[in-house]
């Protein structure tokens, strides 16, 4: 079923003429209940599905009304500020805490505290990557291997190499740098080659080279091996390069889900104009029916779609009026600004 549709970044190639749907399309169709007859997708295709999931600690609501759907093979980024509810959601998905309301299904199995399914197919890293300090890197991985029966012995050495831990393999975990402790945490999550990876801030503590390395590793896992990745982060710019879809959680509520491709469309753009006579230019643009605003630094800002789409028309208009532009640029809202705007917008609503 999955192969028939194909997924963006899944590494699967559709034959010519075959309509390829991306995961988010499928999910939107599921939500709208408008999949074509005979092509109705079942929950088997969803790696994660939650329905009105909530967790409250006395007066504190950690997660509320969370309904998520993550398709198999997808790389879903769960974005939020500190304390937004990301880790609580991850703990709920892993059955470490009981939901106050709602339910969650992971790889087609209802999540229950203490249950054994679907543990074998899930790898995870929650919060700080803690390991047994008195054991070496190799011994910590051996412990992880034995916690996942059926994992071959060779997996330990393979993942030591793969995560760049060979030089520290026989060092005690207590002596590892934060970056290498994070690598060890990731190696433990990957050791049994899970179908679903749940990672809480996987880039924490890594240097820029390490971040690039882990990004490449996660892309390889999703594209070549069809692994589903659900990762939390508080840095939009980081996940935008990696994820296929982004869910934004703020103050316990999922406020937005967006395809990474739609990020471009969703971010605000503006046309900035400078001339030698800003007052005159402002009058010319206003007279031409262009809504214009003068910024404190003196630049003119145009936000209407027509101006952004055709800055050359604006340039022509100003040149014809005798105030040719000296500076004309279309600026796109920074990702972090976009994220903060979304979060701020929600705050205004509530």
């Amino acid at each position: 079923m999955v192969a028939a549709y194909g997924f963006r970044h899944s590494g699967m190639h559709a034959a010519p003429g075959v309509h390829v749907m991306i995961a988010s399309d499928i999910i939107q169709m599921i939500q709208a209940d408008r999949l074509p007859a005979g092509r109705r997708i079942t929950t088997v295709n969803l790696a994660i599905e939650t329905q009105d999931l909530a967790k409250r600690y006395r007066d504190v609501t950690a997660v509320a009304d969370l309904s998520l759907r993550v398709a198999e093979g997808e790389l879903y980024a769960f974005l939020g500020l500190n304390g937004a509810g990301k880790t609580t959601t991850i703990r709920l998905l892993l059955g470490m805490i009981k939901p106050t309301a709602g339910c969650a299904r992971v790889l087609g199995t209802s999540v229950r505290m203490g249950s054994r399914e679907p543990r074998a197919a899930v790898g995870y890293l929650v919060e700080m990557p803690h390991s047994y300090p008195e054991l070496t890197v190799r011994e910590n991985l051996e412990v992880a291997r034995r916690l996942h029966p059926g994992t071959p012995r060779q997996a330990v050495s393979r993942f030591i190499e793969r995560l760049g831990l060979a030089a520290d393999a026989d060092r005690r975990a207590a002596t590892l740098s934060q970056g290498n402790a994070q690598r060890l945490g990731l190696a433990k999550a990957l050791l049994h080659e899970p179908r679903l990876l749940v990672l809480d801030e996987p880039a924490n503590g890594l240097d820029p080279a390490g971040i690039v390395e882990i990004r490449a590793l996660l892309l390889e896992l999703t594209r070549k091996q069809g692994v589903t990745v659900f990762m939390s982060s508080h840095i939009l710019a980081e996940v935008a390069r990696l994820a296929t879809r982004i869910g934004i959680i703020h103050k316990a509520h999922l406020i937005r889900e967006i395809d990474v491709e739609d990020l471009e469309r969703d971010r605000r753009r503006r046309l900035l104009v400078r001339t030698r006579d800003m007052e005159a230019a402002c009058r010319v643009l206003a007279a031409a029916g262009q809504p214009v605003e003068m910024l404190p630094d003196g630049a003119l800002e145009l936000r209407n779609a027509a101006a952004i789409a055709s800055p050359d028309d604006i340039a022509l208009l100003l040149a014809d009026a005798g105030v040719p532009p000296t500076h004309l640029v279309v600026e796109e809202e920074e990702l972090e600004q976009y994220f903060l705007r979304l979060v701020g917008a929600k705050e205004d609503v509530t």
Partner: protein, 259 residues
């Protein structure tokens, strides 16, 4: 079964690589060596007089352990009190370290059943405590031989050693609930604090004459009465262990693990 064997390996590896062997070895040798030193002082009046108060206390102790049977009863009582603290330390570490080191989360969402993980922890706790008790007994026998205590007949030594062994088993049983305290308290403080409280309570209960029915007074009562114990007391010790293990299991299975 394979999962349990794997988990026992994991727990043994963690214990062996930690500082636990060092602490427990020091603790298990300190008790018999300390008592032997006091008996040695009491056996040498010249040194005893020079030491004043210590000498007086040493004389008191030597009176209580003037021959092999009395010395081995004292060893059993020592395990009922000092050994109890050592075993509490072991079980607090085995369970509490997962919370202190933040490694608990790595045990919660794995295919190995939590029952196997917990059972392995109990097995290692029991085995480690038994080794500590054996070291205390062997060290005590060696010290007794070096001190030249009278009535060292093979039968007496065997009977005294059995008394120490059974007392140790009873202590191991009644420390099992401390796994629950380590889990619910998420560390070492609650179980070790409870150990102090329980020992004080055990002494009070023993003074009131109900020592045979208070789980944590049962080992001391058994040692004091030289093995004379009602079946109900054995049952109380076993039930305490079972209840402690079950409570720990329920807590691991049902409590929110949000840290």
């Amino acid at each position: 079964m394979r999962a349990l064997a794997d988990m026992i390996w994991v727990e043994m590896r963690k214990a062996v690589c930690s500082r636990l062997p060092l602490f427990t070895a020091a603790g298990s040798l300190f008790l018999p060596l300390g008592i032997a030193l006091l008996i040695f002082i009491a056996q040498n009046p010249e040194s005893s007089r020079k030491l004043g108060l210590v000498g007086a206390k040493a004389n008191l102790l030597a009176y209580a352990a003037m021959d092999w049977p009395a010395y081995l009863v004292l060893t059993a009582q020592m395990i009922a009190a000092g050994g109890f603290f050592l075993f509490c330390l072991i079980i607090s570490w085995v369970f509490g370290r997962e919370f202190v080191d933040g490694t608990l989360k790595d045990l919660l969402a794995v295919p190995v059943p939590r029952a196997s993980i917990l059972l392995a922890k109990f097995v290692v706790t029991g085995a480690w405590s038994a080794v500590v008790a054996a070291v205390i007994l062997i060290a005590s026998l060696l010290m007794g031989a070096l001190l030249g205590l009278p009535q060292g007949l093979p039968g007496v030594l065997l009977q005294g050693s059995a008394l120490v062994a059974v007392t140790s088993c009873l202590v191991i049983l009644v420390v099992m609930p401390f796994a629950f305290f380590a889990s619910a308290g998420r560390g070492y403080l609650l179980p070790l604090g409870m150990a102090v409280l329980v020992l004080i309570a055990a002494n009070l209960v023993a003074i009131l004459g109900w020592g045979a029915y208070f789980p944590w007074a049962v080992p001391g009562f058994y040692a004091q009465n030289q093995g004379d114990l009602a079946l109900a007391s054995y049952l109380i010790a076993v039930l305490t262990a079972v209840a402690g293990m079950f409570a720990t299991y329920l807590w691991w299975q049902r409590a929110d693990q949000s840290r």
